[in-house]
Symmetry: C3
Subunit: 357 residues, 3 copies
């Protein structure tokens, strides 16, 4: 982080236009509120524009049309947060920790590692598993027999991938994530014994898991193997921590699954589906392209795809409907009074006495 970067160079890197001193240099990155003269920052949310007047940052990345104080160095780009991500990659280039296979790693028979693979001490690569070029596997991670991991992946400590799973390229699996554990499948077997009339007989889960390119899987997330066939996570999908994905689920490309989401078995998500935190999807349910499901919602039925389709609530309904209903629920005390009042007035009109239960 001690290297100096000229604003002219950074602006070019992100295809931005610089309003300010091209020779001014920054060495580090900081949030707009906490930045000092040696820091670069960014402003993505126009509602926080006032911070441009008070920031001490050496330079701020802003959107093309953003007004800014003249004295402040700014780099103008179409998408400030994307430019920010690009510059972060430059200034905080991830350093690999393991670049070779440790002699203290446990390598199964026929396990293969391509060039540049790093495997930490205490990691286990099962028989016949294959690890693609430049992939890094941390201590305590395990790769089951017959599984294949692509190129440039990162498998963090204590991530566990069962047997015969297939993981493509540039996939990141965080600590404690479990890929390929048995799906939850049992047959209710009658026993004829009145004391225990039924037992849950395990249905062997003989399918697998397929993770496509550029997927990121959060800490302690679980993705179960299919009963038959495959559970599939589509390219570019980003999964947060502690998400549960049941057997035979398929997600489309570029979905966002926020923390503590649960998707029950055999459900299907289209492309660009977002499920917000703690929401759940029933089994055998289809959610179409582009749908957004709000936090804590419960999707009980299929939802057709379409831009701007936002669902919310338990059970999930179109978000506008649910918000209207929430507002009406808040007014229930008032409605309750109104009804009592109406009853009284009607009773009076009917010539009796006001009666309200």
């Amino acid at each position: 982080m001690s290297k100096q970067h000229k604003l002219s160079v950074l602006a070019e890197l992100v295809n931005g236009s610089l309003d300010g001193d091209p020779d001014y240099s920054i060495a580090s990155l900081a949030s707009i509120a906490g930045a000092g003269p040696g820091d670069l920052s960014f402003l993505d949310n126009p509602r926080l524009a006032a911070e441009l007047g008070t920031t001490k940052a050496g330079c701020v990345i802003v959107s093309t049309e953003q007004e800014a104080p003249e004295a402040l160095n700014v780099i103008r780009v179409d998408q400030p947060v994307v430019a920010w991500a690009v510059i972060l990659e430059l200034l905080h280039k991830r350093k690999r920790i393991f670049e070779t296979v440790s002699s203290a790693a446990f390598m199964g028979e026929g396990a293969s590692t391509a060039e540049g693979v790093g495997v930490g001490p205490g990691a286990w690569i099962g028989d016949g598993a294959s690890i693609g070029a430049r992939t890094e596997i941390f201590p305590g991670a395990t790769i089951g027999p017959g599984s294949s991991i692509g190129e440039d992946c990162i498998i963090y400590p204590g991530a566990h991938i069962y047997h015969d799973c297939s993981i493509a390229n540039r996939v990141i699996v965080h600590s404690g994530a479990v890929i390929g554990a048995d799906g939850y499948g049992f047959a209710q077997e009658e026993t004829g014994d009145p004391a225990e009339p039924v037992v849950h007989r395990k249905i062997q889960q003989v399918g697998t898991v397929v993770i496509e390119d550029d997927v990121e899987i959060g800490a302690n997330t679980t993705i179960d193997r299919a009963a038959l066939d495959s559970t599939v996570i589509g390219k570019g999908t980003k999964i947060d921590n502690q998400v549960v994905i049941g057997h035979n689920v398929t997600t489309g490309r570029h979905c966002l699954l926020i923390s503590q989401v649960g998707i029950a078995g055999s459900s299907t998500l289209g492309n660009y589906v977002t499920l917000a935190g703690q929401s759940g999807v029933n089994g055998h349910t289809t959610i179409g392209d582009g749908v957004i499901v709000g936090g804590k919602s419960g999707v009980m039925q299929d939802i057709e795809g379409g831009q701007g389709r936002v669902y919310l609530g338990i059970p999930a309904r179109p978000a506008l409907t649910t918000k209207k209903i929430y507002a009406l629920i808040d007014r229930l005390p008032e409605y309750s009074k109104k009804i009592r009042n109406l009853e009284k007035r009607i009773a009076e009109l009917e010539g009796g006495q006001g009666e309200a239960t």
Copy 2:
């Protein structure tokens, strides 16, 4: 999977009656939609019976009374899904990976392993722990001092069992499951310091966990040790992924606890209780035999047992009541209008002007 199996043999294996060619052979299993002539499939859901007309499967397992095209080989049984489980076990017999104690396993003093135990490299078996015959413990799993594991168990990579826990026979513990961590118990200790008037003093959790026979515990599920006495999971109970079971909870036999369920401390479930995904049970709560709790519900009070007792909602009420209430909630916009309309009409009858707030 390349071995051929005659339909006559398979039918006999599952006590089924074969309608078709006894010498026809299948080599593999597939879903009814994806099956080809070399595949066996099964139909459990009568609503999907139309698939019998289009499937390319070599044979389908169906229920005794199921109608099927004459040209299709079918094996008729009482419970197709149970027959399916039996045949899966035959065709996909689980192969053990570890059949001996690896020299790279970390074995504590006095740790004992019965015949046929497999312990993978990097697994830790604490002092005085005992492992029953034919149990398989994967790399990265840990068994705390003094714990005992029964026969024919599978402890997957990175499953962690704390000290002095007791696990019976044929128990499966998936990766990342944690058994016997401290229950969440603290005493609010007054300090006399106005800046920090109370601190949460840890109450040592000195009880244990008892897991009975034939239990399966999903990936990243946590079962806490008791404060005193034991947390108990009854025989045959099947627990899905990322379930939380608090200290001193007791579950009956053959319960089904679906993913992301949480059961707070000291609660008790009867036998054959089902808790669907993301539901929660308050502490010190009793749920009787056979009760089913729907997804995302919150059980705040005891529920009496009984066949067909289904509960739903936050707070959980009988499911029919909750569904009726959900339907009425959906009609709130209509009721709101009705009330406004009634107010207007009454005001007119009263001789005033229509008034609606």
Copy 3:
């Protein structure tokens, strides 16, 4: 546990007054219902006072003003549960398992361990990490490069701490907890490709995690590293199992976060905040000192702090409001009938026919 403890000694230890035989001895602890003559027990809940009449305990710790049978030995204290915690610590003094650095531990370059540190076999301490005096690190735990762990900590098997995190003194981290994984941050990058118009570009998470003194972190809980700056868990905060804490969250001191709680990124909790099980907090949300949020609630907006401020529901409102609304929701079937009835009566008054939709 076989050592005998005189009641006079125990009473003095907890600053209690003994009503009973000072020379009577107990050797173990049990719940009031299960205790025998050799056991000490305690009564914290006055509603269970009837158990004092039937208990077989050798002595019971009770509150100062509690009535109790004359024949029963009781130790009177201000806070029975605190005295109980103190005596538990005496009788069940935690025995350390690892008191030295195992030769089978994986120690990185420049990793330092202070006096009395124990590191189990198969644990990994990354380059330049430092471990404070008497801290115990179990097998399968990993400490990333550059992280520092304070004194007297316990890091249980399979707990994973990423690089450059800072953990203070007397912190307990249970199995499967993950501290410092990447926060969930992506930039929506336009591609110009109509087939995949947007991809989620990773924003490097270059901040860290700071855990202050006396924090306990439950099994399989995840605390993400900050995007920039730090995610902070305040002193004395106790976190249960399977809690999700997003990047840049700050919790105050002595908070209680019960199992399966989720706190989205950049939110801030004051001191002494309690979030009950399965509740969730939206991103960029502030909850003030002392607020209690009930189970399964969803906090969508800031909540001002203050003693006795209890919130409940989705969205979370003051608990009394929510309970009133729950009661009214239960009466919706009745209100629906009342409205229909009102409509009929008005129609009659209007001289038309009763009309009810």
